[in-house]
């Protein structure tokens, strides 16, 4: 019995140590955003939140319009998530429930493309948007990954569990295919769609390389791009940088808190599937 208590104790200590390592950087981010830079980097550093947040915000606003960046990120991410969610739902449903010529080839191409690193696409995409004069727009950030094969794959896997007879009986009752998709298929895929949407949302909220390349003027920057410009200044003002990081992290944390099981389902969809 004694050894089992010891075991428990060791496990708790290890896990709490892990928690400490995980949380410390976030704590430091808060310390940083509420103290002036010279106090963050003084010896010894300040370990408690300060009251410098308003001043840090003023300085942050002097570097980039962080609220505009927050707005840009929100517009882009929400529009992207809705559109990509619809595209994925329709495509995933089609792959799961219809038989048609070319299905296998199209599906294989979608799946194979997941192997291609995004970096291999970025230059032609840049050329494409440059040719259409669409660089430096929200549309430029939203469009390129509206077809997200992983999301389609997740929906398809999920849709396979709907019995065909359900769809057939609706057809016999005279329902059209669009009706079947919107009123019968969509409601049954809500949990899967939630997981996929969370996945797409997180992807786009944190997206960096493409917005960095395609957004040119400061007023169009998303949060990660705005943060990067502050981090690239010759002398970094950590107070404003940490405040910027805090602002960029809070929305995704809130969503994570309320919808954590969908986050997990979203990444697990690819890993645990028979």
């Amino acid at each position: 019995m004694r050894s089992s208590i010891m075991n428990k104790l060791i496990i708790y200590v290890l896990l709490l140590l892990g928690v400490l390592f995980t949380v410390a950087p976030f704590y430091w981010m808060v310390i940083g955003s509420t103290n002036p830079t010279d106090e963050i980097l003084s010896y010894p550093p300040k370990f408690l939140p300060g009251d410098f947040i308003a001043e840090n915000l003023k300085r942050l606003m002097g570097s980039v319009d962080i609220w505009k960046a927050l707005l840009n990120s929100s517009i882009i991410t929400i529009t992207f998530t809705i559109l990509a969610g619809i595209v994925s739902a329709a495509a995933g449903f089609t792959f799961a429930k219809y038989h048609f010529r070319g299905k296998k080839i199209i599906f294989a191409m979608f799946i194979l493309s997941m192997m291609i690193p995004y970096q291999a696409l970025v230059i032609p995409q840049f050329n494409l948007f440059a040719n259409f004069g669409l660089l430096n727009t929200h549309i430029a950030v939203i469009l390129p990954q509206l077809t997200y094969p992983f999301a389609i794959f997740l929906i398809m896997q999920n849709m396979k569990s709907i019995p065909d007879s359900l769809l057939e009986s609706a057809r016999i009752d005279g329902a059209g295919e669009i009706f079947i998709f919107v009123r019968i298929a969509l409601p049954t895929m809500i949990p899967a769609l939630a997981a996929v949407s969370i996945f797409l949302f997180t992807f786009q909220w944190n997206n960096f390389l493409w917005p960095l390349v395609s957004l040119i003027t400061k007023d169009m920057y998303t949060l990660p791009v705005a943060l990067a410009t502050i981090a690239n200044q010759d002398t970094i003002d950590y107070g404003q940088l940490m405040l910027g990081a805090t602002i960029s992290v809070i929305p995704i944390f809130i969503i994570f808190l309320f919808m954590q099981r969908y986050f997990v389902a979203g990444i697990l969809g690819g890993a645990i599937k028979e």
Binding site: T22, P25, G32, P117, A120, L143, T147, M242, V249
Partner: protein, 296 residues
């Protein structure tokens, strides 16, 4: 057929045409933004452009690439970081998942939630925080090291420690992600296996290596592949933390691609780099599948 109202119920495109309509958006965006770029960047990689004139030059870009010391440096950096970071996150993820799954502790959900938070943080956000933590003057990490008598380390401005910094940040960012996947894998292993082994007198450690690890193989393979692909795409972290420096010690392949493409605007050369990257990822994934012995 008569359609008195345009209600959704009557909007019938027919079972035959339904796939066409439902799949059209996905195919359209796929063609424009994935298929076309794949082809276009392959073509670009065989071209050069001089004074606004683009011409095909065969394998010149690839020849130049394989004679480019900076490319080898970028390749080497990427491999070193990947080879250390990938096992780190998987082993730590496996360790924490095993502890959480031991059945000995409460608050499993709290631990899982906490460990996963770095994985929802943007790579840029995470990198920015580490920029402060790793600051040489009085960053938290150097301060804490000072308390135990270790001289301050030039984390971001010495070639060796700059790589360590990237790995540290990556390990912090990705351990929880792998843990969640592995934990789900652990929970899907049948309890009967362990009971049978206990009856046969196998120790916990023995059970771990003869039941847990083999049962987890597909899950670990998934983590390995995802992590390898991820490390080849390493960009945000070096861009923020070190900007590829010092003296190119953290220039990764993707950093090098970005520099050539969007700082020197040599799209053709950058495309050749992209295709070498494609080749490497395909090769590594193939090898890992072979080694993993997966049926699929």
């Amino acid at each position: 057929m008569e359609r008195p109202t345009m209600s959704i119920h009557r909007l019938d495109i027919g079972k035959k045409h339904a796939p066409l309509v439902l799949l059209a958006p996905a195919v359209l965006f796929f063609s424009l933004f994935i298929a076309y770029p794949i082809v276009s960047s392959l073509l670009l990689s065989f071209q050069i452009s001089e004074a606004g004139q683009t011409s095909f030059v065969g394998f010149d870009n690839y020849i130049r690439l394989f004679q480019d010391p900076l490319f080898y440096e970028a390749m080497k950096n990427t491999l070193i970081i990947g080879v250390i970071q990938t096992p780190s996150v998987i082993i730590l993820g496996l360790l924490t998942a095993t502890l959480l799954n031991s059945g000995l502790i409460k608050l499993e959900n709290f631990f899982r939630l906490t460990y996963f938070t770095p994985a929802v943080t943007s790579l840029v956000g995470a990198s920015v925080i580490f920029l402060l933590l790793l600051n040489q003057e009085n960053g938290l990490i150097n301060f804490l090291l000072g308390l135990v008598g270790i001289d301050s380390i030039g984390w971001l401005n010495t070639p060796f420690w700059a790589k360590v910094s990237i790995i540290l940040q990556g390990t912090w960012r990705w351990t929880g992600y792998n843990m969640v996947i592995i934990l789900a894998g652990l929970q899907s292993i049948s309890k009967d296996l362990y009971e049978a082994a206990s009856i046969d007198g196998a120790t916990k450690i023995r059970q771990f290596f003869s039941i847990t690890i083999p049962q987890l193989r597909p899950v670990l393979l998934f983590c390995l592949i995802m992590s390898t692909i991820g490390s080849f795409q390493l960009f945000d972290e070096p861009y923020i933390l070190t900007n590829g420096g010092p003296v190119n010690a953290t220039t990764t392949i993707t950093m090098y691609l970005y520099e050539n493409g969007f700082q020197f605007f040599d799209f053709e050369y950058a495309s050749a780099i992209a295709y070498v990257l494609v080749g490497f990822i395909a090769l590594l994934t193939y090898v890992q599948f072979k080694l993993g012995g997966d049926k699929n």
